[in-house]
């Protein structure tokens, strides 16, 4: 009793100190939640460009919204009110809902620059009498029609039709339909009003993204939506949703698994002390992991911390292994001394396996690896040196396993037959064609599948191009990028003719380079020439001599205009928004996209861009590029894992040589340890393949973890043959408790909504279960289970039970 009281006092003090340290640390360490950290590293320029775009490109500042669930006029009203409120909010560069197409000042600007913006002006033949005459006849014909007001407004000032052509080519391909003055999704589905908004802040600015989302939701709520629902999608929403999904999962797991483990430990030890004792190395591990990740990376990713804490659940094994194997009458310090070497070997080897993740190149995996390795070592150290000081005497008494379990485990020990599963698993895995690797980058994302599908649907309805390939352009200024866009456009034009692609979008389509604008100015006819061409074209037609004065003046004015630049698009929000997606300034450099659509001849497209021989014009096949990216990352991770595995084996061999006093027994012991671990990995891969689960780098991390945990079991079960029955049972019981708690934690993870977490949970649960069984089956048969010892093994637990009761 007094031993327990002392233990409580010391444990309480230690926990208080550790808690204070943790509180201080969490004040100091910044936590981040960027999705970009979940992406693999880039190897090629194309991949780097793509990743930069995914992390913070122009497209990441887009918000797409659908409003549905109410009658159409009501939806139109809400859309108009939300659109007005968003425009007034100042968060957005552009808000499109159909209510504000081409404001008058934009129309005036575009009209003024019509001969610089339209490719018509490049061709002097368009301004000859022969070309103008049919235009004038068409104008006359049009003036008789119901469209006369529009034709009269623009036709006399622009008989070649540069301005109307421009508008048609920009607005013509819209897929939305206009109802009640705003955009609606086309089709007969229940009505859905559509809004697209582009924020001022880039996608990397999570605060601003959150503010945008709040502005949107606030505007919606202020429009008295009634039964209508707002469906808001886009990268900004995704970051928030992903962070929320991970957070919810991690919280659910930590609470549930904490309760389960606490319940299990209480049941097994009937001692609250054990719970407190387990908390000490856990806290120490968490502190060490967080601190080291902070020191190395400058911040801790929320997901790395969440996953890392589940990994550190393994640290709870150490006090259980220690306290569970204390011999009667032995001081815990003695147990620590006796088992210290095995504990150190186990923790070192597991940490070594995890450090492989440090070099994987995924920022998140690297953080996770460091967190896990540091936490394991700190937890093991706290168990080895701190716990024995805190728990003097026999404060915690190991209790035998209940019911038929000890008998079952004893019979399993050293029986070797469960190892028969290994050839079966190998055969099955071979028959299924080996483990499947997942190279779809989307599966690395914690964004729920449904959100992604709704996003794709909104994009389709808004007519946003389904980007499969793109040509990325770089330059020091906008002009350079626009010129490159024009070069790329010239290379693509023959492909459109040949049908290899259906068409393409280019920033130069909206704003030609200044060089092109100047070329168009130079090609415009002088006033006298144009006047005589016009009068010839208008011969016998009922036009007054002054009818086309606005046209003549417009051409004259065009010849003297300074070329339009991106900086002057203030009065032209529609054009600026279109251009802004294709041409952006980032960190002082400019970049642009030419986006082909309806690609049928991928090789021709690739070849056409390659023929430009310009390193700043980059062809990117997005699917191929991201798949290659993930595949490279996986291959790299595998290489490091293999290297880590070899390191672990070498370490174990060294340890066993030291412990067994010779290479030959050391090698034999190494086999006993390595076989269950390798076997567990094999079984896990086979089961995952049978479940149809495709592997990603997170599975790899989970396999490493499972291997590290399995190592504990193999090392402790493989301890030199137990000296007596009670010792053997204590050994079995301690390892069994570890396996049970690990299964409880990671079994729960398999029920997570986040695909990544579910994968890890599944992987570790299967791995740990099979590692336990295999390690037990391949463990040395102790005297306990030898045939003559049966009576004594029967007596021993019953004797203990009597003393326990």
């Amino acid at each position: 009793m007094s031993a327990a009281a002392t233990a409580w006092r010391r444990l309480g003090l230690a926990l208080l100190l550790l808690g204070l340290l943790a509180a201080a640390l969490f004040r100091l360490v910044p936590f981040r939640a960027e999705l970009g950290d979940l992406l693999p590293p880039a190897g090629t320029p194309a991949a780097r460009f793509l990743l930069d775009e995914l992390r913070g490109g122009a497209a990441t500042s887009l918000l797409l919204a659908g409003i549905e669930g109410a009658p159409e006029p009501e939806l139109a009203r809400i859309s108009r009110e939300v659109g007005d409120a968003l425009r007034a909010s100042g968060h957005f560069v552009f808000v499109g809902n159909g209510a504000q197409d081409l404001p008058p000042q934009e129309r005036d600007l575009l009209f003024r620059y019509r001969y610089l913006l339209s490719p018509i002006a490049e061709d002097p033949a368009r301004f000859t009498a022969d070309a103008l005459r049919p235009r004038l006849q068409g104008l006359l014909d049009g003036l008789r029609s119901a469209a006369a007001p529009v034709l009269a407004q623009f036709g006399f000032a622009d008989p070649p039709g540069a301005f109307l052509d421009l508008l048609r080519s920009w607005l013509g391909e819209s897929r939305v339909t206009m109802r009640g003055g705003v955009w609606f999704a086309a089709g007969d589905t229940p009505p859905r009003a559509l809004i697209v908004a582009r924020g001022r802040a880039p996608g990397t600015d999570l605060e601003a993204q959150a503010a945008m989302v709040r502005a949107f939701e606030g505007a919606f709520a202020a429009a008295h939506p009634g039964p209508a629902r707002l469906m808001l999608r886009g990268p900004g929403v995704f970051s928030a949703a992903a962070a929320a999904a991970i957070e919810a999962d991690v919280r659910m797991i930590s609470i549930l698994s904490g309760l389960l483990i606490a319940g299990f430990l209480l049941w097994r030890t009937r001692s609250l002390l054990m719970l407190a004792a387990v908390a000490v190395p856990l806290l120490a591990g968490m502190l060490a992991g967080t601190l080291l990740v902070f020191l190395v990376f400058g911040a801790v990713h929320g997901a790395a911390f969440g996953f890392g804490m589940t990994m550190l659940g393994v640290v709870a094994d150490y006090p259980m292994l220690l306290a569970g194997q204390r011999r009667p009458g032995e001081d815990l310090r003695g147990t620590a001394r006796r088992l210290g070497f095995t504990l150190a070997l186990s923790a070192l080897a597991a940490a070594m396996g995890l450090t492989a993740m440090l070099l994987s190149g995924f920022p998140l995996l690297a953080q996770l690896g460091l967190f896990g390795a540091a936490g394991l070592l700190a937890g093991a150290a706290a168990t080895r040196w701190l716990l024995p000081l805190l728990l003097p005497g026999g404060a915690i008494r190991p209790r035998p396993l209940p019911g038929p379990l000890p008998g079952l485990l004893r019979r399993l020990r050293g029986s070797a037959w469960p190892a028969l599963i290994l050839p079966l698993a190998a055969l099955g895995l071979w028959a299924m064609g080996g483990p499947r690797w997942n190279d779809d980058i989307n599966h690395l994302s914690p964004v729920p599948e449904q959100l992604r599908q709704e996003d794709a649907e909104l994009r389709r309805q808004l007519g946003a191009p389904d980007v499969g390939t793109l040509i990325a352009l770089r330059g020091d200024d906008a002009e350079t990028v626009l010129r490159r866009a024009e070069r790329a456009g010239a290379a693509l034009a023959p492909l459109v003719e040949a049908g290899a692609i259906a068409g393409f979008d280019s920033p130069a389509r909206y704003l030609p380079s200044a060089a092109t604008q100047r070329a168009r100015q130079a090609a415009l006819p002088a006033e006298e020439r144009l006047r005589s061409a016009l009068s010839e074209a208008a011969r016998d037609l009922p036009f007054r001599p002054t009818a086309f004065d606005r046209f003549l003046a417009g051409v004259q004015e065009s010849r003297g205009l300074a070329p339009l630049t991106p900086a002057e698009l203030g009065p032209a929000p529609t054009m600026a928004a279109r251009l802004g997606l294709l041409l952006t300034e980032r960190d002082g450099a400019w970049q642009g996209f030419v986006i082909p659509d309806g690609v049928r001849g991928l090789p021709a497209l690739r070849a056409a861009v390659a023929a430009l021989r310009d390193p700043d014009i980059l062809f990117i096949h997005i699917k191929g590029e991201t798949e290659a990216l993930v595949a490279t990352a996986i291959a790299q991770a595998l290489r490091w894992v293999a290297l880590g595995g070899i390191g672990v084996l070498a370490l174990l061999l060294l340890g066993q040589w030291h412990q067994r006093g010779g290479w030959r027994p050391g090698l034999a012991a190494l086999l006993r340890i390595a076989l269950p671990i390798g076997g567990a990995v094999l079984v896990t891969l086979a089961v995952l393949a049978a479940l149809g689960e495709a592997l990603n780098p997170f599975h790899l991390a989970a396999l490493l973890l499972a291997a590290g945990v399995g190592l504990d079991y193999a090392l402790f079960l493989g301890l030199p043959a137990p000296e007596d029955a009670a010792e053997g049972d204590r050994n079995l019981g301690a390892v069994f408790n570890c396996a049970a708690t690990t299964l409880l934690t990671f079994g729960l993870l398999s029920f997570c909504a986040t695909p990544v977490l579910r994968g890890i949970g599944l992987c570790v649960s299967i791995g740990v279960a099979s590692a336990f069984v295999l390690a037990l089956a391949l463990a040395p048969r102790g005297v306990v289970t030898a045939a003559p010892a049966i009576p004594s093994s029967g007596a021993s637990p019953s004797a203990t039970r009597r003393t326990g009761a």
């Binding site: 006359l140 003036l143 008789r144 469209a147 007001p149 407004q153 206009m178 009922p542 036009f543």
Partner: protein
């Protein structure tokens, strides 16, 4: 033009005596009469004048109206053209050129006011008319009436300055539209 208008006035004056028997029309009585008429057919002739053209452009065809909101203008001369408005949709077709366009009345801000100047008048729908226009009514000495519409929106006004509709009883007889691009006069002869 003035002497033609004088001629019409003269012709109308000859027809005046029977009309005198009725009380002078008011805006409400005209609207009620128009609203009571569920359908109608008419022939029309139209001339458009533009400051840039040295002569007016004539055209002609038929009009048909079916309450509450269907209006079709079928131009037969000189080029066939169909303009049909039903509900919130507008269909514009020129078969000879294989042109057919369908658009919503709200796709362009000027479109709905322009359409409602005629349609809401035919429907006798004064509130709609007043939503888009300042409405002035004048009873003519010959027993006919005249409604002058001035757009309320500055944006619409920039394109369309006034619409003058005149008629007698429940029949619209002429529509004169004056925009900054020119003037359109439509004369309507109701058919039974």
């Amino acid at each position: 033009m003035t002497h033609r208008r004088a001629l019409i006035a003269l012709a109308l004056a000859c027809l005046a005596p029977p009309a005198l028997a009725q009380p002078a029309p008011t805006l409400d009585s005209v609207m009620a009469a128009l609203a009571a008429r569920r359908q109608g057919h008419a022939r029309f002739t139209e001339t458009r004048e533009f400051p840039e053209l040295s002569m007016p452009l004539p055209s002609s065809g038929t009009l048909s109206w079916a309450a509450p909101d269907r209006l079709e203008k079928h131009t037969t001369e000189p080029v066939e053209e169909i303009l049909r408005i039903e509900g919130d949709r507008l269909v514009f077709a020129r078969p000879a050129q294989n042109i057919r366009r369908e658009l919503g009345l709200d796709e362009q801000p000027e479109l709905r006011p322009l359409v409602e100047s005629i349609r809401a008048t035919l429907a006798g729908d004064l509130p709609t008319l007043q939503r888009h226009y300042e409405v002035r009514f004048a009873a003519q000495p010959d027993g006919g009436w005249r409604i002058d519409l001035t757009p309320r929106s500055m944006r619409v006004y920039a394109a369309l300055q006034s619409v003058a509709i005149s008629g007698r009883g429940d029949a619209v007889l002429s529509v004169v539209t004056r925009g900054n691009q020119g003037e359109t006069r439509m004369t309507i002869q109701p058919e039974p």
